[in-house]
Structures are given as C-alpha cells and as structure tokens.
Symmetry: C2
Subunit: 294 residues, 2 copies
C-alpha cells in the first residue's frame, strides 16, 4: 500500500493536536500555569513521536484510536523536556519554533512548574487511557518512565551539559543522543507494539528500527542547524556551533554526517523489512525523517 506520507502524518497530527488541547483544557489548576502548559503544547510541531506510535498500531492491524491518549501523553512529556532544556540554566534559548520560549513568556518559575506539570500529567493521562488492560498500562508506564528518567532522557541531557566544554568522540556523542533523543523515539515505537499486542519475537526488529531511526533523526537535526532555512526552522541557523555544542557535523564534517545518516537509515529499513506488516508506512516515515527540511 502506497500512501501519501504527509497527509497521513497530518491526519494523525490533527487528532493529537485536538486531544492535547482537550486534555490540558480539562485540568483544573491555576490559570497562569494552565496557560503556560497550553502555550507550549500548542506550539508543538510535527507530533512525530505520537504519529510513529499510531502508525505502529495501525501497521499491526489494531485500532489507532487506542493510541491517541498514550500518544498525547508522550507529546506532553516531550514538551516538558523542551521547556526545561530551554531554561537559562540549561540551553538558555529565547526562541523555539519561532516563538518565545516558556520562561521568556511566563517567567522562569512558571516555566519550571509548567514542565513539572506536563511531566506528571503525562503519567496521569497514560494511566487513565481507555481501552487498555491494566497489564498494558503497567508495561507502558514502566517503559515511559525508564525512557524519560535518569537512565534515559534526563541522563542524556545531564551528559550533554557536562560535555559542552569537551570535544567528544563520535561514540560518546552517540551514547548521549541514544538517551537524550533516542529513548523517547524508541518508546513511541515500543508503545505502539504494546498497544497492538505485537508478539515478542517481532519486537526486537521494531526496536532496532526505532534505535537507528533515532540516530538518523538526530543527525538530520544537526544538519538542519547548519544547512537549514531559518524561516522554515523557526530558529537561527548555526546556533549549535555558536554554543560550542558537539554535533555529528562538528565531529564528522557535513559529508561524514550525511554518510552516517545514510548508514543508520539503511539499518532502520533493513530491520523493518524483517517484519511482516500490511503496509509500508513505517518505511515512509523513516524516509520523511531523513529528508525533511524542518
């Protein structure tokens, strides 16, 4: 089955956008805190992680509707990580996707709390997601907490900050990004497999796909930072370099990074082709990720 990947992604993005708005709107809390949570959640871009989750669910013949709340929960958690990463004590970014970052708009205290609130609410939404068994919820919650916590994303962010003054080897950079950005992408795919009850023999191929896709995603991000179009990206080009960050292009050069990207893309695809699915949407999503311009 050949589908138009952009309209496929957009269909699911709109589902997630609507559900996120509804979930945040229904929270009873301080108006300022709610406004800050809504602001960052609405500033969201492609909803790549939830779209991946829904695509996995659909590829294995289950109902994608089952993934809308778990996918929204994942996007809340991703949004919290962006708010905290942007803080003055961390990356100190004023703009994200062309808009003022949370602390620029609401002040630092509210930005910290909006992040804390979104992280906690992500677990709250996931545990209340309809249509899942308790056993599925427990497995999802375990995988999400593990992917997001000190052994996953938070650990990667901490390592990334520690590494800012050093020049890394490629293995060290990859070790950081496998946790900082990789683990949540892997979770997106794994959660789809859990929700669709994909059998245990098949899952390792999906996880390999997700792992290589995560590396490819990060390399592409780094390449866009040096070669992208500011108007399309919504942030200044070259900011990684200015901040002295270690990136794939800074270590491998632009051509080396592109070669590295191709290799991980190929490994993602070949792992995927070992799995029997009714469509090729996961392959197309991989194409989108390495060919996107923002």
């Amino acid at each position: 089955m050949m589908v138009d990947v952009l309209s496929y992604m957009n269909k699911y993005k709109l589902l997630i956008d609507d559900k996120l708005t509804e979930l945040i709107q229904s929270i009873e809390t301080t108006p300022k805190l709610k406004e800050a949570m809504m602001y960052s959640v609405k500033a969201g871009g492609k909803r790549l992680r939830p779209v991946l989750m829904l695509a996995v669910i659909e590829s294995f013949g289950a109902d994608p509707a089952l993934g809308v709340i778990p996918g929204s929960a994942l996007e809340m958690l991703h949004t919290y990580s962006l708010i905290h990463d942007d803080l003055p004590a961390m990356d100190n970014d004023d703009l994200r996707r062309g808009m003022p970052t949370s602390h620029k708009k609401f002040g630092e205290a509210t930005a910290i709390l909006a992040g804390d609130g979104l992280l906690t609410q992500a677990f709250e939404c996931l545990v209340n997601a309809p249509g899942l068994t308790d056993s599925q919820k427990v497995e999802l919650l375990h995988k999400l907490a593990s992917a997001a916590g000190p052994e996953g994303m938070v650990g990667g962010q901490s390592d990334d900050l520690e590494a800012e003054e050093k020049t890394l080897k490629i293995e060290e950079l990859e070790h950081i990004h496998l946790r900082k950005t990789g683990r949540l992408l892997e979770y997106a795919v794994e959660a789809g497999a859990i929700i669709a009850n994909v059998n245990e023999d098949t899952r390792p191929y999906l996880m390999d796909y997700a792992r290589h896709l995560g590396v490819a995603f990060q390399i592409k991000d780094d390449l866009l930072d040096i070669e992208g179009d500011e108007a399309v990206l919504g942030k200044p080009v070259g900011s990684d370099n200015e901040q002295g960050k270690n990136t794939y292009p800074s270590i491998l050069g632009a051509e080396g990074a592109k070669e590295h990207l191709r290799r991980h893309f190929q490994m993602a695809i070949s792992s995927l082709r070992k799995v029997n699915m009714g469509n090729d949407i996961l392959e197309q999503l991989a194409h989108f990720i390495v060919e996107r311009n923002h």
Copy 2:
C-alpha cells in the same frame, strides 16, 4: 496496643532510608546527576509520608514490607518538589535541613535535572514494586500523579507563588495548602489503604483523617517557623515572615493558628475513631505531627 511512637517511626524511617539509597545507587546514569539525586534524598528528614503509608498498611493487618518501595517512591517525589521549590526562580533558598540546597551545591542545571530525574524515577519505582497486582499499581499511579500534578501539588506551588504579593484570606491559604502539601500526605494514607485492600466504605474516614492531618501539619510548620529552635530546625527562624509569605500565624495570629491546629487535629482524630483498627498508631502519629519540635 500502646507503642512508643518515636521508635516506631524510626524503625520504618531506617527501612525507607536503606531502600532509597539502594534504589538510587542502582540507577545507571551520569555520576554528577546520580550524586545530586543521592545528596537530596539522603538529606531527608523524618520520612513522614512513607511512615504514614507503612503505618496504614500495618494497621489493617497487611505486610508493611509491601509499602517499602511505594513509600520510597513517594519520598523521591517529595524530594523532587523540595529541590525545585528551593530554586532561585522559586523560593530561592540556600539552606535546607542545615545543608546547602541542591542548586547551591551542584548548580542550577543539575538541580533541575535531579528534580526531573527523581520525579520520573518515582513512577518507575512504583510501577516495578513487587507484591502488588497490576490493578493496585494502576490505582496507585493514578492517585500519585493526580496528587502531584497541576491539580495537586504543582498547582498549589503555582498558586503559592502567585499569592506572594497578596494578603490572603484563611480560606485562600487553606485552598493552596490542601494542594501544595496536603495532597501528598493524603496520598500516603490512601496508598496504604490501596496496598492493604481496605474496603471502600472505610476509606472516606481515612481520607478525612489525612486531610485534617495535612492542614494540622502545615499549621505546625508555620508555627515552628516563628517559634521553633533554629538548631533543631536546621534553618533560620522567621524566614517566612522575611519573604512576606502568607502563613496561618500571619493571618490568624499565633494563638489563632494554634486554635485552628487543635480543631483540625480533633477532626482528624474523630474521623479516625470511626474506623476499626488493631492499634492506635495512626492516632499517635497525629499526636507526633502536632507536637513535634522540628
């Protein structure tokens, strides 16, 4: 059964201390992040919330060992809230329990991440707690996320920050504290009831006990800030007043606050006495909370 409440508390405190150390020690992450998480967790005081949880479990004849990991998870979450509350953008505190706060010792970035890590790890530990059914875990995770999130603790903290410039009425202050400190104490009791399979008819009395105890706890905290002994408290006396915070004594006067404390204590006790239990430890814990000197 009459027990010595201090040695009872100390026995369970030591269990929690040991399990917390073990749980943090086993995390594979950046050394600095792990050190910061361990530092704040080890600086912990009375472990009042987990002790309450274990006491509820024991009072209903279940095995307190079932509560050691859920109680440690609750203490991790409580510790995260202290680290983030102390940040310069929030309460800007340099000392906690006589020791430098996390951001003073490790820098702001690591303090933010240590908080994020402890919050996430709390869910990770809870979902992996042995001896509980999936259904119990789902209920515990739902109650914990709800108590800690924007409708609970994070919302209360946000309201508290908004209120700093205003003079509150007593109802407004109570509304803040029911969420900022109350909800986690209520969760401690409710979690004990879930773990011990306390029947649905009995739970509302326990929850009323917890709610009034939470208010009493906060009033006592405020009173200690004006009348306590610095050496015992580990922080300067009068700091609430200096920071222009709304407290029970600032609104009701010291004598009015004490009267309010007595009323909530009495309501906690009378609610508790409607429940059949094999011992009076929950009543004694209430006594301890309103009579403590730190």
